[in-house]
């Protein structure tokens, strides 16, 4: 197992390097942050931007260097730099937003905000998915099965921005009905609130309810279909038939033999689902004003903040690769037919 983990971890390095190179080229070619920043200043001040300022922006963002040199500096920090670039040196590169922004700090802070948001939603969606998937499979082709399938497809087909808007409106109406503002529609906590981790969590609960519901409903349907298919396959397998033939009670067959095996695909899918949600909660974060990784990447892309986009892509890549690794390991733990050597 340890050898397997080491081997897979080492294999991740060239994959990540290839991904960063490709991403860097695409990000670099897709925008010109210097021109964009100059235009923003002109729009903001209503005046022409002095050439000295343009030169300083180019120098600050390393846009006075060639693309290969920029990539090399971003990766290694080896060469003539301002001391703010080079992953190997622990520097993520300068932000187009200026010296007040530390990309590394932003990424690390926002990572936890997003995790707080998607963790509950992922756990909840997996829980609901297992429940509805199993019920659907057990009651195959019944009204219950069709109803659960319909509801699942409904949420699957519903764009999350629309679902989010609907639930926000529902929250406003619920508050009106209750005569309070217990459900908050924007932000991840009370403005300026500070406290221990637990206090911050408790404070964030009114802000967590609606976005968690959106992510849960939007995310459970696909997993539910996996669970249903897996459960049906196991229920039709020989060993389940044998158990029934031997007179084992239906509940025991379902719980001990069928469900346990049918959970393997979903259990191994869970880490990937969480990893995907970490990078894919952009819409939900935007709608509900959570300043997480998704919102950060959105702003970075919008402003052409190349090094910030790269940081997001790198972190997302690492999270997905870790998710894949955990998923592979879970196969070995849950499925006795698989052994790692």
């Amino acid at each position: 197992m340890v050898v397997f983990i080491i081997r897979r971890t080492l294999l991740m390095i060239p994959v990540l390097l290839g991904a960063t190179l490709l991403s860097f080229i695409l990000v670099d070619l897709s925008n010109d942050p210097v021109a964009e920043q100059v235009f923003q200043i002109q729009q903001s001040t209503g005046e022409a931007v002095p050439q000295s300022t343009v030169d300083a922006i180019e120098s600050q963002l390393y846009y006075d260097r060639s693309l290969p040199e920029r990539y090399w500096l971003w990766l290694t920090g080896i060469g003539e730099t301002n001391g703010d670039i080079g992953l190997l040196q622990g520097e993520w590169g300068p932000s187009i937003e200026g010296t007040a922004v530390d990309i590394g700090y932003e990424i690390s802070t926002r990572f936890w905000i997003t995790l707080r948001l998607v963790l509950f939603a992922t756990v909840a969606s997996i829980g609901i998915a297992i429940l509805s998937g199993v019920v659907s499979a057990v009651k195959q082709y019944s009204r219950v099965d069709y109803s659960l399938t319909f509801v699942g497809f409904l949420f699957l087909a519903m764009p999350s921005f629309w679902l989010g808007s609907l639930l926000k409106e529902a929250a406003v109406q619920a508050n009106k009905g209750l005569g309070s503002t217990v459900l908050q529609t924007y932000g991840s906590g009370t403005t300026g609130f500070q406290g221990t981790g637990w206090e911050v969590f408790v404070d964030s609960l009114p802000y967590l309810v609606v976005p968690t519901l959106v992510l849960t409903l939007a995310g459970y349907a696909a997993i539910s279909r996996y669970q249903r298919a897996s459960m049906l396959e196991v229920m039709n397998s020989d060993y389940v038939r044998l158990a029934r033939a031997k007179g084992v009670r239906n509940g025991t067959v379902m719980r001990r033999h069928a469900l346990r095996t049918a959970l393997i695909p979903v259990a191994t899918f869970a880490p990937l689902s969480l990893a995907g949600a970490m990078g894919g909660a952009i819409v939900t974060e935007r709608i509900f004003g959570w300043r997480g990784l998704g919102a950060y990447s959105y702003d970075a892309i919008l402003h052409g903040d190349s090094f910030a986009v790269m940081a997001y892509l790198l972190i997302s890549g690492i999270v997905v690769l870790i998710g894949v690794l955990i998923s592979d390991l879970l196969y070995g733990v849950l499925d006795p037919r698989i052994r790692y050597e």
Partner: protein, 580 residues
């Protein structure tokens, strides 16, 4: 309603006209409500009322910021300017009526010219004007601001000021007691001398943080970065910051040391970033915020506001204006006759009716690119030319006289025998610009010109304009009651913002004259002469002052929008209060 609007944008022009016409009634007569109802007729005094002592206000800012030093290029934007309105040392404010009011928390009187050659301007500090930490404002603070804005690497090595148009013109700053005199270089003759910002961050705070800013240009730059990264706990305004996170929120409490005359009644004011119009309106209806003055407004927002309890709103032209520019270096548009015909064929009233009129029913076509229609300096040079009227007959006449012809497919042919084809560019995220593009395409097809609609991703607008990658383009500029810098920026042949590359020597001479007088009224007259020339050049077609909304809880008083200030509704924050 929004669904209909989107559909109309996506459909062919004819279908769009039918759909959008059906919607026209929805937004009619919906420019204001309740407390803000009289803002059109009384922009300075609307929503006025008695304030109780105490109360808290949470105000949404519709965008974020990254640093606290608005002098720096990277930090400067409208949102941080709004968020810092409670403490920033502004020289004064233009009111909603366009009239300038000096900041009496800083200055005892309006600045005055003591010499015209070189220009010397004297400022008299208000008695007791201070930084909120026991230190009085002094001449060092003026010098610090100058160095930061100079663009001179010998004064601030590596600094990137958002603008050096003031700082680069300062020759020296001297003073004694409460009097500070700024001497400008010989090249400075701006009619806007009384509106120049002369203070930003406190010099003594930089010194306390061990920056030898006065004698070390590198230390000066480091001190600028320090002010960018450090939450400003110093203040010259009616409030002082108690807690803040860049790009997220700013919390204020009253500043007991403020030297200004207005009485502050609120206990706490919070500016909170809230992106997205829908989020703002929902939060306002949910009681999470008390108001906002976002930069955009749409029909759906108005519908929601109309149905909201205890909320007032008003919609009026904001500090941005929409226009269509032509690239005079395009092979076809280099001909002024074709440019005139193109601008004449565009029906601006029709565009307005099918876009901005949905959100502001009393909106007017903008007829002067420098001065709003309600400005005392406004003059209309456009109407007489026919530009923007959609008069195809007039356009055809102009082109026929110039030797243009039409082929068997009614395509316009130049005197050199080429078919005229133009790329029209616009940012695709703005519905109004998408519809405008389709309508312009339809207008010009009536002239036999094939127009290719080429949308611009939002992040690429600067690049497209900077690289002059358009034949026709629709975008917006911001505006204030000042105009001297604008006239230079828009149309001077050596301006980097003259994106359509208009090169008119006569116009350049006129622009030089605008920049060569100290008299504001005279400069405005000269600016209008320049505008007349630009109209004759058929270079730009103004459309409208872009509508914006202000929305406030009915419990707030003295809160109203101000198009003339970057701080928007926060311009009179000292007067804000609650009525119950």
């Amino acid at each position: 309603m929004k669904r209909h609007l989107k559909a109309s944008a996506a459909a062919v022009s004819a279908a769009a006209l039918v759909l959008t016409a059906a919607l026209a009634g929805c937004g009619q007569d919906a420019t204001a409500s309740a407390g803000l109802g009289d803002c059109t007729t009384d922009p300075v005094g609307c929503n006025a009322g008695e304030r109780i002592d105490g109360g808290e206000v949470t105000w949404a800012v519709d965008g974020s910021w990254v640093g606290w030093n608005t002098v720096k290029t990277s930090d400067n934007n409208a949102y941080v300017t709004q968020a810092l309105v409670g403490m920033w040392p502004t020289a004064g404010q233009f009111g909603p009526d366009g009239k300038w009011v000096v900041n009496d928390g800083l200055f005892a009187a309006d600045p005055e010219i003591v010499s015209e050659n070189p220009v010397q301007v004297k400022y008299t500090l208000q008695d007791g004007a201070n930084w909120g930490d026991g230190t009085d404002i002094s001449i060092d603070d003026f010098i610090y601001h100058w160095y930061a804005n100079s663009g001179d690497q010998d004064l601030c090595d590596g600094c990137t000021p958002a603008s050096d148009s003031w700082g680069s013109q300062v020759e020296s700053i001297e003073g004694s007691g409460d009097d500070v005199t700024i001497t400008y270089k010989d090249s400075y003759h701006s009619a806007e001398w009384q509106y120049e910002e002369v203070l930003s961050a406190p010099a003594h705070v930089a010194e306390d943080a061990d920056f030898d800013w006065e004698y070390d240009a590198a230390a000066m730059k480091d001190s600028q970065d320090y002010f960018s990264e450090t939450v400003p706990t110093w203040t010259t305004g009616p409030y002082r910051i108690t807690k803040a996170v860049a790009g997220d929120y700013v919390m204020y409490e009253p500043n007991p040391d403020w030297a200004g005359s207005a009485e502050v009644t609120l206990d706490k004011v919070t500016f909170r970033v809230m992106e997205g119009l829908d989020s703002i309106v929902t939060a306002l209806r949910n009681g999470e915020i008390d108001g906002a003055s976002p930069a955009t407004v749409d029909v759906e927002t108005i519908t929601q506001l109309e149905g909201a309890d205890d909320v007032s709103y008003a919609i009026a032209g904001g500090n941005g204006w929409e226009h269509i520019d032509l690239n005079v270096e395009n092979e076809f548009l280099s001909d002024p006759v074709l440019r005139t015909a193109v601008l004449t064929a565009i029906d601006v009233e029709n565009i307005i009716e099918r876009t901005h009129a949905y959100v502001q029913s009393d909106i007017e076509r903008k007829l002067n690119p420098l001065f709003r229609n309600d400005s005392e300096y406004f003059q209309d040079f456009l109407t007489v030319t026919g530009q923007g009227t959609g008069d195809i007959e007039l356009s055809v006449g102009l082109l026929t006289d110039a030797g243009y012809e039409w082929d068997e497919n009614t395509r316009l042919i130049t005197p050199e025998g080429e078919r005229v084809e133009l790329d029209y560019r616009y940012t695709q995220s703005k519905e109004s610009r998408v519809t405008t593009a389709e309508l312009v395409q339809a207008n010009l097809s009536g002239l036999g010109i094939k127009v290719n609609l080429v949308p611009i991703p939002d992040a690429d607008l600067g690049t497209v304009l900077g690289e002059h990658d358009f034949d026709m383009v629709n975008f917006g500029w911001s505006q204030t009651p000042t105009f001297v810098n604008s006239v230079n920026q828009y149309w001077s042949s050596d301006s980097g913002s003259n994106f359509g590359r208009l090169d008119d020597e006569e116009l350049d001479g006129m622009i030089d004259q605008v920049s060569g007088t100290l008299d504001f009224d005279e400069a405005a007259e000269l600016a209008n002469v320049a505008v007349k020339q630009v109209v004759a050049d058929a270079y730009t077609l103004p459309l409208v002052d872009t509508p914006v909304a202000v929305m406030v809880s009915d419990r707030l008083v003295n809160v109203r929008d101000n198009w003339a200030s970057q701080q928007r509704a926060g311009y009179n924050i000292a007067e804000w209060g609650v009525s119950e």
